[in-house]
């Protein structure tokens, strides 16, 4: 990590990509803004005339605004699939409230005496709207557009979760890969973009009331021009489409390795882990990266392609614990190791299936499993101190955290606090280093590649030998971070390429090499 490239190096190296993402980002923001203005301004005008409709319309747009953006994107998948369309629709919905509300307010704030004199002079309703109401409410409407723009620049980062591109690709890729430069390469342009547009629009707003008449026409033109930046990602023209997580896209044991070792040549979109299984099931995608123990594998009847050239290193799960804690509570180690060797790949897949797909609570699934294996004991009186267990934000980690918490409560007098759902590897690991948590389940491959960022020579030497990888990370972690890897739980949750079983069988694709050949031949 000492010879890590600086942010400047990274940005220089990736400048082409940053520029593309920036344009996509601007495009996404302004296409949605364009629709929001086209729909929102007339809607605001309409409800200022039909007062009875104002409350329900503003209420609905208000509710839309309160839906968490990631959830809204999630709702879009079944309706509109993945890619720019659902992203634009979601952004459009967010932009609607400020625009409708401000148009409505602006219209209502026009001095009634001015309106009466306009009527009294014989202006028609249309003339009053164009010559009086719109120009006079323009500063307020502009303020709404300004708010919507800034919101959209922010929310558009999330568009990368559903394969719509934008600066979120770097931000979320960076978080997943523990790559600060990558995060900043996405976050800084996004922040500058928001500040820039906010500034431009604030200037426009403050212009002499007279010149507002000019800006009234200038703004739609600008929005249309900026919208055109978004060249629809080329995946709509693709015969086979892969959806990869931002993490997978940037990894040697991921997309980069697939390109190098398998010469895999496939169109890709960046997409969130949360939606990609469903997307492949619904034929929006053909190939995804996933985890070999993921419950959705079973739920959506997906097939793992065999890694015949061995580019995915082993990812054996084991508890990663701060050494001080083990020293302070010596009884802890044996308790945590009770799980060792108890869960293999298919058991973990089944457990994940129950949580991810059958929607049972991780605690219930964990308890049931421990009872079946006679490992469950009723909690003892907790009066000796507290163990804080963390987990990343997916089902398997929740299950493991629940199991460890039950084991500790049943076998020791320690209290347990769980801090589950800590985003990605980086967030979990930083929490551990900063002593905000005491332990979390981690994977050997992740430790090797993401946290240690081991040099290529070491990775080649270790290869796919699970024991060598385990002992390497164990000794390095102890040395560098004073953290201890306990015994592996047993399953290997490695990366895997997956396809719909039906499609794979039809095309006779069993191995990744088969996929590469299929794509290269046609």
């Amino acid at each position: 990590m000492n010879d890590a490239p600086t942010l400047f190096d990274f940005m220089k190296e990736q400048s082409g990509k940053i520029f593309d993402q920036l344009l996509q980002h601007i495009g996404l923001t302004f296409i949605s803004l364009l629709f929001a203005v086209i729909i929102g301004v007339p809607l605001g005008i309409y409800i200022s005339r039909k007062r009875k409709l104002a409350a329900p319309v503003l209420g609905i747009t208000n509710v839309l605004q309160t839906i968490p953006s990631i959830a809204l994107l999630g709702f879009m998948i079944p309706l509109l699939g993945i890619g720019p369309v659902p992203a634009i629709v979601a952004l459009f919905l967010y932009a609607l409230l400020p625009i409708v509300r401000n148009t409505y307010t602006g219209m209502n704030e026009v001095d009634p005496i001015v309106l009466e004199s306009a009527r009294g002079m014989g202006m028609t309703a249309g003339q009053i709207l164009r010559k009086v109401k719109l120009p006079l409410s323009m500063p307020v409407i502009l303020a709404g557009i300004r708010t919507a723009t800034v919101i959209n620049v922010g929310v558009a980062t999330l568009a990368s979760y559903i394969g719509a591109g934008g600066l979120g690709e770097f931000i979320f890729g960076g978080i997943a890969l523990n790559n600060t430069n990558m995060i900043l390469a996405g976050a800084i342009p996004a922040a500058l973009l928001a500040i820039f547009f906010d500034f431009i629009l604030s200037r426009l707003q403050k212009l002499n009331i007279r010149k507002v008449r000019v800006s009234f026409w200038l703004i739609p033109v600008c929005i249309v021009v900026l919208s055109s930046f978004y060249i629809l990602p080329d995946f709509y023209r693709s015969k086979m489409l892969a959806g990869f997580t931002p993490e997978f896209m940037g990894r040697e044991d991921g997309y980069l390795g697939l390109k190098k070792v398998y010469k895999l040549n496939i169109r890709t979109v960046v997409i969130s882990d949360a939606v990609m299984y469903k997307a492949v099931y619904e034929k929006k995608l053909d190939v995804i990266d996933g985890y070999s123990t993921d419950g959705r594998l079973k739920a959506f009847d997906l097939k793992i392609l065999k890694d015949d050239k061995g580019i995915f290193p082993p990812y054996y799960a084991a508890p990663l614990v701060r050494s001080e804690i083990l020293a302070k509570y010596p009884e802890l180690k044996s308790v945590l190791n009770q799980l060792s060797g108890k869960i293999n790949d298919s058991v973990m897949t089944e457990l994940n299936y129950q949580v991810d797909y059958l929607k049972q609570s991780p605690e219930k699934v964990a308890k049931q499993f421990l009872m079946e294996r006679s490992l469950y004991k009723n909690p003892l009186i907790a009066d000796e101190g507290t163990i804080r267990i963390g987990s990343k934000i997916f089902g398997e980690q929740y299950i493991l955290a629940a199991m460890y918490s039950m084991l500790i409560r049943g076998n020791t007098h320690l209290k347990v606090e769980t801090k589950t759902g800590l985003g990605g590897t980086k967030i979990c690991f930083d929490a551990l280093i900063n002593q905000q948590i005491d332990m979390y389940p981690e994977y050997t491959g992740t430790g090797l590649l993401v946290i240690l960022q081991a040099p290529g020579s070491v990775i080649t030497k270790l290869g796919s030998n699970s024991e060598k990888v385990y002992s390497y990370v164990q000794s390095e972690f102890l040395k560098k971070y004073n953290l201890e890897w306990l015994k592996p739980i047993g399953f290997n949750n490695t990366y895997a390429l997956m396809m719909r079983r039906k499609q794979a069988d039809e095309k006779d694709i069993q191995r990744i090499s088969d996929l590469a050949n299929y794509l290269n031949n046609k």
């Binding site: 005496i113 001015v114 009466e116 004199s117 009294g120 202006m123 007279r210």
Partner: protein
């Protein structure tokens, strides 16, 4: 010119204007006078259809206003509001040009009309590129009038035109307006609650109460022949001042003292001043009397005492 026939306006169950009828002759200024809520503004606004009447007919230049496209009706009736209603985002010249532009006048005609109007309301040309907020209240009101008269409509409706001005400006502007060339030959309906304003500007006053016309007539008639207790009470507060304003020097000329010579420089012809004006002059010029000349060159003196004796004589006369 304007004729209201049994016009009624109801808002729900509330009757704002109750079966009123009156005529306004060409060139006449009629004042609708009354306290707030008496229906005077509603009546005015029905004439240019900002409010539609519930029943009855309104005729403008012989035509029922419901048979004329409403925009055309309004473009031919000037309208002046209390708070002038100038467009804040239009310059002064654009504000004045609104109605001519709606009527699609050629630009050159509009430009020359604007400078003509500006001259007539006594404002300099260099304000044309300013915005309304940059003008004083009195200037804004004059622009409001110029705008209402831009397309030279034969009819002018004025809704409390000086109501938003402070007392001093108001008095000045009222006086100024009453002398404006622009308003000569216009048929004017003016709404006010200000009795003095009504007396100063109105050829005829319609005193309204509870949606009905209580009495109509010349100012002097209302003052000296009130039709009901309501009318006399309405004027009672300002009675003396109103009377002094309603009576002119020519009315009391015969009650004044003869004079052989024109002894001071305050000499006036008899028909220009009201008694009130004469009192104000005596005060401001610190003189004991005015010298007044009648149509045949006869000169008489009017001092404080003789002005009041004259008024009493007029009052006695009108009650006989």
């Amino acid at each position: 010119m304007i004729s209201l026939q049994h016009v009624t306006k109801k808002f729900g169950s509330y009757t704002a204007v109750d079966n009123i009828s009156f005529e306004v002759a060409e060139g006449e200024t009629v004042v609708l006078l009354g306290t707030s809520g008496c229906g005077k503004t509603t009546t005015l606004r029905m004439i240019n259809r900002l409010i539609d009447s519930s029943s009855g007919n309104i005729l403008v230049r012989g035509k029922n206003i419901k048979d004329v496209p409403v925009e055309n009706l309004r473009r031919n009736i000037g309208y002046v509001l209390q708070h002038n209603g100038l467009f804040p985002h239009y310059t002064i010249s654009e504000n004045i040009a609104i109605v001519p532009q709606l009527l699609k006048w050629p630009q050159q005609k509009i430009t020359s009309r604007i400078s003509e109007l500006l001259d007539k309301v006594h404002l300099p040309e260099n304000i044309l590129s300013l915005f309304p907020e940059q003008l004083s209240g009195g200037q804004q009101q004059r622009i409001g009038l110029a705008r209402a008269l831009a397309a030279d409509p034969p009819i002018l409706l004025m809704d409390e035109p000086f109501g938003a001005l402070d007392a001093i400006t108001r008095k000045k502007i009222t006086k100024e307006f009453s002398g404006l060339d622009l308003l000569k030959n216009k048929t004017i309906v003016l709404v006010t609650h200000d009795i003095r304003e009504a007396f100063e500007l109105g050829d005829r006053i319609l005193l309204m109460d509870k949606g009905q016309i209580v009495q109509q007539g010349k100012p002097v008639e209302l003052l000296f022949h009130p039709a009901s207790d309501f009318v006399s009470e309405f004027f009672s507060n300002q009675e003396m001042e109103l009377q002094l304003n309603a009576v002119f020097l020519k009315d009391i000329f015969k009650h004044l003292q003869y004079s052989t010579t024109d002894e001071n420089n305050l000499t006036f012809t008899e028909d220009t001043l009201s008694l009130w004006d004469a009192l104000e002059l005596l005060q401001s010029e610190k003189q004991k009397y005015l010298s007044i000349k009648n149509a045949v060159g006869e000169i008489r003196h009017a001092g404080y005492d003789s002005l009041f004796t004259g008024l009493e004589a007029i009052k006695r006369q009108s009650h006989e």
